[in-house]
Symmetry: none
Subunit: 304 residues, 5 copies
Amino acid sequence: MLTDRVKQILSWYAGENPGVLSNLARMMNTGTLAGTGKFVILPVDQGFEHGPVRSFGPNPPSYDPDYHFQLAIDAGCNAYAAPLGFLEAGAAKFAGQVPLILKLNNSDTLAKTPNPLSAVTASVDDALRLGCSAVGYTIYPGSGDRNRMYEDLREITREAKAKGIVVVVWSYPRGAISKDGETAVDVAGYAAQIACQLGAHIVKVKPPKDFIEQPEAKKTFEKMNIPTKTMADRVKHVVQSAFNGKRIVIFSGGESKGSAEVLEEIKGIRDGGGFGSIMGRNAFQRPHDEAVKLLKDVMAVYQK
Amino acid sequence: MLTDRVKQILSWYAGENPGVLSNLARMMNTGTLAGTGKFVILPVDQGFEHGPVRSFGPNPPSYDPDYHFQLAIDAGCNAYAAPLGFLEAGAAKFAGQVPLILKLNNSDTLAKTPNPLSAVTASVDDALRLGCSAVGYTIYPGSGDRNRMYEDLREITREAKAKGIVVVVWSYPRGAISKDGETAVDVAGYAAQIACQLGAHIVKVKPPKDFIEQPEAKKTFEKMNIPTKTMADRVKHVVQSAFNGKRIVIFSGGESKGSAEVLEEIKGIRDGGGFGSIMGRNAFQRPHDEAVKLLKDVMAVYQK
Amino acid sequence: MLTDRVKQILSWYAGENPGVLSNLARMMNTGTLAGTGKFVILPVDQGFEHGPVRSFGPNPPSYDPDYHFQLAIDAGCNAYAAPLGFLEAGAAKFAGQVPLILKLNNSDTLAKTPNPLSAVTASVDDALRLGCSAVGYTIYPGSGDRNRMYEDLREITREAKAKGIVVVVWSYPRGAISKDGETAVDVAGYAAQIACQLGAHIVKVKPPKDFIEQPEAKKTFEKMNIPTKTMADRVKHVVQSAFNGKRIVIFSGGESKGSAEVLEEIKGIRDGGGFGSIMGRNAFQRPHDEAVKLLKDVMAVYQK
Amino acid sequence: MLTDRVKQILSWYAGENPGVLSNLARMMNTGTLAGTGKFVILPVDQGFEHGPVRSFGPNPPSYDPDYHFQLAIDAGCNAYAAPLGFLEAGAAKFAGQVPLILKLNNSDTLAKTPNPLSAVTASVDDALRLGCSAVGYTIYPGSGDRNRMYEDLREITREAKAKGIVVVVWSYPRGAISKDGETAVDVAGYAAQIACQLGAHIVKVKPPKDFIEQPEAKKTFEKMNIPTKTMADRVKHVVQSAFNGKRIVIFSGGESKGSAEVLEEIKGIRDGGGFGSIMGRNAFQRPHDEAVKLLKDVMAVYQK
Amino acid sequence: MLTDRVKQILSWYAGENPGVLSNLARMMNTGTLAGTGKFVILPVDQGFEHGPVRSFGPNPPSYDPDYHFQLAIDAGCNAYAAPLGFLEAGAAKFAGQVPLILKLNNSDTLAKTPNPLSAVTASVDDALRLGCSAVGYTIYPGSGDRNRMYEDLREITREAKAKGIVVVVWSYPRGAISKDGETAVDVAGYAAQIACQLGAHIVKVKPPKDFIEQPEAKKTFEKMNIPTKTMADRVKHVVQSAFNGKRIVIFSGGESKGSAEVLEEIKGIRDGGGFGSIMGRNAFQRPHDEAVKLLKDVMAVYQK
């Protein structure tokens, strides 16, 4: 049975086929937050993106692919997201226990390239054979190769939607933007908007900071007195930018930090109307029980 | 989390991809019987097979496709099976609420053909876009066109398995068999065996009667003193014939009858080691609440 | 390392690609008869062909698909042959332990048809995904639909050879032939010849009886004084008919019978130059240890 | 029969089809190290990569393609890896005698290019027709064209896995990395991680040196007191980085050197938990008997 | 009947299908050198590569496509090689009179490109319809687009081999190599090796000069005292580099020169173990009878 809130969220995706709706519903009906329309997702692509020792060294059991499946299950997450290899290594053993999101593109940090461009390392058909509910794809709005990313995503989105698979887009502005600007509130809203316009079902952005990058945007913020002081203020802007809240937008946890700090940020996201968090390093770099406790504390915030 | 029994059942399907295992797990983790490895499935293909008035006339609300989704949900069934049209009519509205089985072939009874042969009326890709966990396919072993059915099924099975979709085979002997023989215990066992050898994940047969059709089979029953007197005896033979119980074999409810009679039959199926029931007319031709009560009573038998 | 005899046999298949040669070598380098160029293969398609109770009732553990993999391994067979379902059920668990032959077509005996025609129930690609070394296919020379069988086989053979898979043909004359004629020595030779001409790498026929079916053939037998009295005489004729012994021809064990009788027949096959036996019912219908003993006794005959 | 260790290793690849599992089992059940789960593989792609005289000049019989098949067999290697031409030249003659790995991409050193990019010179279908158990593919993480390599590999991996063929990835960091960094311990771990995340079944890296390339990685090594002083320490890190040892990771032998030096290095690899070695120049550039002796000495180290 | 030498050469191609073997045998059983395993081939692609007047102006009858068929026949060549147009113009008239090699790629010299890359101007199917025994393909190892050439060749090779057509590769190093280096002995050996590893049946290189291009190669030449002084010395190295002489390697005649000079060079090729010559300009730019005489003199050298 679905709650009224879940039904309401699904209503914003009318027009998608029932396969997509089923997989959206599946993620919203799994784990501790089942039925609330809120999300806490465990993403573990850092082994590829940052290298294994930086990612898993702080908590060595996390080198093991089984570890993350089990952590997502133990903590009651809505879904677990990872690249092909990590999912292949555990998808049979943990079949049917937690919805899976296959990260389709990945970028390593051995190479230092001016134009960041992820390789497409898996396919929608891989998602089907591994029993995934969704595919994930990263775009870098603002970067030199963004158009190629958008166009690759277009093909993936078209295929995923035809086959009943949900599309989650990581939207990370980069490139022709100042370092601060990458998490500026206007840029975060813009990043969310682009992902939604590209057809994403779920969008992931970074928690926005109290900074405005684009002068033209600044004018409107000022003219309309749009507040950006608190996290809640800023999240509210991003959620609005995601089709007035009619697309699910969730926020990354960023670099590892203290539990109190994490929970404070989550409260801001919740108060701003954010749909949830996708929290990797702050989860799997802690010892297992501590991570489960933190994730459950985060879920408790969203449940209020 | 999966129970040990569900994990044991999944272990018999090692070699299938995680997509198939996930969908098997999904059906075994849904509804009242979640975790028991037992199944009660609601199938509603009679509108196509027997015509609407014979099928839905006795309980007019059942003309409505929504009715059956809701009945399966209310009763806590593991899955709901129907042809393309019925699933299309409700799959969006009930997305994510109950696993779906798309019946891929159907035969109407307007035409009277000596050789029964169902038309293939939907595809594996339809199953994906409708968010189904499984496809269903009927074979008529013993009939003149059986080989064409087996060969069509081969293609469906290959595609479904590659895309992570479970294959359910309805195995109904017919044709070069006496009327009694269609439900003879040896024939039921043979029907189950054929479906399993064709690669079915789940097999549906009719509850076998205390009758032996084939003289050569009769010799072995007699020589080996294989009992066939009780339903439990006979179901045991059929389960054995389904790869010694390593393939899920479930039993149809047959024509409508009294609740007591239904439950008596179910006890026999349970005692013989059957994995469950697929019960159509005995469910949807009763008024809603009565049907829910009967289905719950059936589930209670399997839970013991 | 390959023995000189195995190298000699492989030399007759020069022109096939190394994939085919590797799989032929694999079967000749497995089990008790490794290196001798002789074969004892366990085939278990009777569940489909004769029904489960006739096939497995006499030895109930044999209902279990694992049983046959284990029996083939325990007895040191060169290969195990079965339809799709039986192989799917155990191929992952027993991966790499015994070469597998996927029987691609099968015929059930629920239907009584004047023109026997097996359904094609699996594909060469199934053989690849299940890790098989060979595919098996049955033809019924003499039957009404033989040409369709030959033509289906043509496509299978073409694909199998391109993909490095060995082709084993069961050649069972039937139809426009007297009952005795089905195992007549001239007919057995003819059946072997047809299979070889169709491109089979390995041919299976029934042990020939001292009877000649075709009057035209009889004239030559008489004129040339070709002896047919002993099993060795007759097997010699069949082996000659299989390209003068340059195609591997093996003999079925037929209906279950006493061990002494089986071994007597095997001696005749060996003395006539037969390459080995494919022995189903005489193996799996005995209790496990008795079956292993019989198979090992059979292998001992071939080793002399 | 498979040993418990081989079964354990295969269990990490659950979800792959039985074809892949069979070929993995085949390599682990071949040669001197059969059953140990350890590997010594002979790779000979240097003729293409470094040119014939540098590769084969030091031991002229090694110009002959037969030489390497025979060396792998004589020494009891688990497998022999080479480009298309070398395998075509001997695959028929040595069919079934040693598992083959077809190197699918190769790069010559006649051209000096800033961005190393290998040509894809053979296909998965070539592997089938040549009777290979695996395909091999080289990636250069850190190089300018790495994304194209990852994407080409994705297609090869998808096809190979569907057809039951094992995927071996040579992972050689290059490009935006210092010369020392190419074999730095953090970089080696990262290279292994990337190959595993791309879906490799077996990964080959260079033996890591006591050097850390990336400042961010260095922080974790220091903070977590991860030792890197001995080869065993460093191999342990690389094995951990290969999914906590749940993917087979083997180490190249590097440039030719003295036997004592080779064996010392092997001991370190063994003590660190490495799965084995892939040793080309140190084998085939020695005279045949010396090479066999060295390979057998290496295997003896792994057997302890 | 085939001579022992021809049989020996064919034995190195075991694993290729009989179609390929037949076409190889056909070329080795044609003309003056039939049965010797030596080759003299007439190639006429200069019209496309250098333009007609440079090519045919010195001997105007050679503008006519018939001229070259007739020349090859009159001189007793093993085969005649040309681009699509030349073969189409005469293949019907001269059908069955001389084996044909269809040059599949060609590069004109109207355009001056830094990276030489030939266009693929015909297909394997063209070779079949024209009755050709072989296709020819040029690669430029060392050039910027070499990888694309190798990958195009991979597809051509796969198709040609499946269809029974011999593959002849012209291997001409170019690009990141000094002018002298293009015919250096190490480079010639490397060029031969690359072509063989790419699956060529017959390789054509330029006669090597007494020069070593690559410093790493030079070390081995010096250390192993590999002589390079005479043409025979150098050809011996190239033949060794072509799989120890197990691939047919033939040498081009290069620019036009005096007959004595030509014959001197041929003696060196013969003494070094070369399989023959492919001689264009030195043949067709001479008057017909003179050309026939020279070609016959060349064949006489190879016959000794």
